[in-house]
């Protein structure tokens, strides 16, 4: 739960963008789509983990 989480996501984003371009240039559009989806799933799992952490903290804090 720190700033390097942001850097991780930025790195994944740039990596996915570069991979997408490379694979599209190499003519494999479907694999390009696969890598984009994989990057999306990884980032989404991280974001959802943090969101659930926030919701738990707020729930226990305000005993909602």
């Amino acid at each position: 739960m720190d700033i390097n989480l942001l850097f991780k996501i930025a790195a994944i984003g740039i990596l996915v963008a570069v991979l997408h371009q490379v694979l599209v240039r190499a003519g494999r559009e479907d694999q390009a789509m696969m890598t984009t989806l994989a990057g999306l799933v990884i980032v989404l799992s991280m974001v959802i983990k943090e969101i659930s952490g926030l919701f738990d903290t707020v729930r226990t804090l305000f005993n909602l």
């Binding site: 739960m1 720190d2 700033i3 989480l5 942001l6 850097f7 996501i9 930025a10 994944i12 984003g13 740039i14 996915v16 963008a17 999306l40 980032v43 989404l44 991280m46 974001v47 943090e50 969101i51 952490g53 926030l54 919701f55 903290t57 707020v58 729930r59 804090l61 305000f62 005993n63 909602l64």
Partner: protein, 128 residues
């Protein structure tokens, strides 16, 4: 101080978002969500201190702390809904944001019914 941490994190995230926006627009939303969560966590321990203070004051003075609990619940609901509304507005979904606001208003009003009813009783007692 915390404020330096908060502003630096926000600026770093802003730079990352601008960098990522031209390649992958959807990653900008993830980073804005994460920055929001990070900043809320930064001030969370001060938040808990304030809430413990409110609870201890309400326990000491013999105000029945049922109303204080309801007020704290409403603050929590407002915090979460404001978090979601600002993210929806940021990504351009103002319709969803207004739906969240409507839902929050309904929940808050339904939670504050006991307070309103006890207020009315007090007023009726005062009236001759």
């Amino acid at each position: 101080m915390e404020i330096i941490k908060i502003t630096s994190i926000a600026l770093i995230a802003l730079i990352i978002i601008i960098l990522l926006k031209q390649y992958k627009p959807e990653f900008a939303i993830y980073i804005s969500i994460l920055t929001g969560i990070l900043i809320i966590f930064l001030v969370m321990d001060k938040f808990t201190g304030i809430i413990e203070l409110i609870r201890s004051i309400s326990n000491k003075s013999n105000i029945n702390n049922q109303f204080i609990e309801i007020l704290l619940k409403i603050t929590g609901i407002a915090l979460l809904s404001e978090f979601a509304v600002s993210i929806c507005k940021d990504s351009g979904e103002t319709a969803i944001a207004s739906k969240i606001e409507i839902g929050t208003k309904v929940i808050v009003i339904s939670m504050s019914i006991p307070i309103i009813s006890s207020l009315l009783e007090i007023i009726l007692k005062i009236l001759p």
